[in-house]
């Protein structure tokens, strides 16, 4: 498959981006400032992220569209208000997570933001449940820009008046440069911020404005350290098709009504796990010292039994310490439990930690 590029590829190049292949795209891993500075400037000022590789999948249809989608998505779509968003999943028959996603109710149906690496398969999986009169479109003419950090609201409000009134996990259509764009108050960093869906032809102009307001470009490297500090999962690492939402400690993301009534893929299994608990569960992990426990690091109990593995681990610049997430046997999941992490053949102490590592400041 040919490597794909987002509409901003040349723009990133001019900003001094270092590129890496990611989910079939050439994406910036970092810019000149480097990961730590990019991370800190997002937390203290604001940063923008080109996340146009993610799928912007639009669905239109009548009442039956909700029924179809609810078979594979365990959110309460019937009661989701227009312009409101939910974090949810696509589930397989075993309750495993095919992808995690944000679904927003639109006037005519729904918009789902899908992970880049999963989007082709996701659409296949969703399509199985769609009826002939349901229309769907993966819109590649749109870019997606995340603007994150405490100054985001002030900066974006000057350009697009009204965005300051959006509450967390809601969105709205706005006009910009004579065209429609859609802004949601959401993100993946633990900071207040927005995600802006904008046509590929206008996106450079938006970025020019952000840069003139000292918003720094942020690459995938800092996106990873920011989301991990915020305790947010990365699909393909912390989540996969063999992990279900109960194990992933994300049962809060299954709507209350859906937990009771079911009617979605894997519900039997999930119902059972909700009642009895799962064998393993996702936890936060803090190594005691400076050692970084990266993905696939084995986790041992204090009496040397292997109890799990790390799925994401890095150095958290705002926590100023290493942070990780992983799966352990549920009896070891209590906050404060002492564990050992095997790094380069040596065992280092650590503790099960609360998530997030870094406290959020979302506007509710």
């Amino acid at each position: 498959m040919e490597v794909q590029k987002t509409a901003l590829y040349n723009y990133h190049k001019n900003l001094g981006a270092k590129f890496v292949p990611f989910a079939g795209y050439e994406m910036p891993i970092q810019y000149k400032d480097g990961i730590v500075k990019e991370h800190i400037s997002t937390r203290t000022h604001a940063g923008f992220f080109d996340v146009s590789h993610m799928g912007q999948f639009f669905l239109e249809g009548d009442e039956t569209l909700i029924e179809s989608l609810e078979k594979i998505i365990p959110a309460d779509l019937k009661n989701l208000k227009i312009n409101h968003s939910k974090y949810s999943f696509l589930l397989n028959n075993e309750g495993g997570i095919i992808d995690d996603l944000i679904i927003t109710r639109t006037k005519k149906g729904f918009c789902i933001i899908l992970n880049a690496a999963c989007k082709e398969n996701d659409i296949k999986q969703i399509s199985q449940f769609l009826k002939k009169n349901h229309k769907h479109l993966l819109n590649n003419n749109l870019s997606l820009i995340a603007l994150q950090g405490p100054k985001s609201v002030e900066i974006l409000e000057k350009l697009i008046p009204g965005v300051a009134n959006l509450k967390f996990m809601t969105g709205k259509n706005f006009e910009y440069e004579g065209e429609n764009l859609y802004v949601t108050r959401s993100g993946y960093t633990g900071e207040d911020g927005f995600e802006i869906s904008i046509s590929n032809t206008k996106v450079e102009k938006l970025i020019d404005y952000l840069i003139s307001n000292e918003v720094k470009p942020i690459g995938l490297g800092a996106r990873d350290t920011l989301r991990l500090e915020a305790g947010l999962c990365l699909y393909g690492h912390d989540l996969n098709e063999k992990i279900n939402p109960v194990e992933a400690n994300l049962k809060w993301a299954i709507a209350k009504k859906r937990k009771e009534v079911g009617g979605f893929n894997g519900w039997e299994k999930i119902k059972n796990l909700l009642a009895n608990g799962s064998e393993k569960i996702r936890v936060g992990i803090k190594p005691d010292g400076k050692v970084i426990a990266r993905e696939n690091t084995k986790i041992f109990s204090s009496d040397n039994n292997e109890i799990g593995f790390v799925t994401s681990g890095t150095f958290g610049p705002s926590v100023n310490a290493p942070v990780a997430m992983g799966y352990v046997k549920s009896e070891f999941s209590e906050i404060g439990t002492s564990i050992q992490l095997e790094v380069r053949g040596k065992k280092y102490g650590g503790k099960i930690s609360e998530l997030p590592f870094y406290k959020k400041s979302y506007v509710k």
Partner: protein, 126 residues
């Protein structure tokens, strides 16, 4: 202190009598990015030429640091283990990794000069 010599794995060595000081080059730190963890060897450890001797981790990944020269470690630089970020600021000065008592000065002599190393980096961009 002798002139600095360089390895293809981006370490530098300087020699004072039979004690060598080893660190990673500025070029190496630029490739690694922000350094957030360093593990240095303890005194008494024997290392072989091109054998693994220390660890350096950036926000992106972990890398081994090799000794460009054989010998017995006399000191690991604890200061950089406490403050890994200092390796980015002064890699070829205060932020050396370890010192070792060498066995064979020939190993030092066979390393690259500054000019040779700069040329090597230009020809092998990564």
């Amino acid at each position: 202190m002798s002139e600095k010599k360089f390895s293809k794995k981006h370490e530098w060595v300087s020699l004072d009598g039979d004690v060598a000081t080893v660190g990673i080059t500025k070029h190496a730190t630029e490739m690694l990015g922000d350094i957030v963890f360093v593990e240095v060897p303890d005194a008494g450890k024997a290392v072989e030429k091109e054998g693994q001797a220390a660890v350096v981790e950036s926000t992106k990944a972990a890398s081994d640091v090799y000794s460009p020269i054989s010998g017995e470690i006399t000191e690991g630089n604890k200061a950089i283990a406490d403050d890994p970020g200092s390796v980015n600021t002064d890699p070829e000065g205060a932020s050396w990794f370890f010192k070792l008592k060498i066995k064979d000065k020939g190993e030092y002599d066979s390393l690259m000069s500054k000019d040779e190393y700069d040329k090597f980096c230009k020809e092998n961009p990564s």
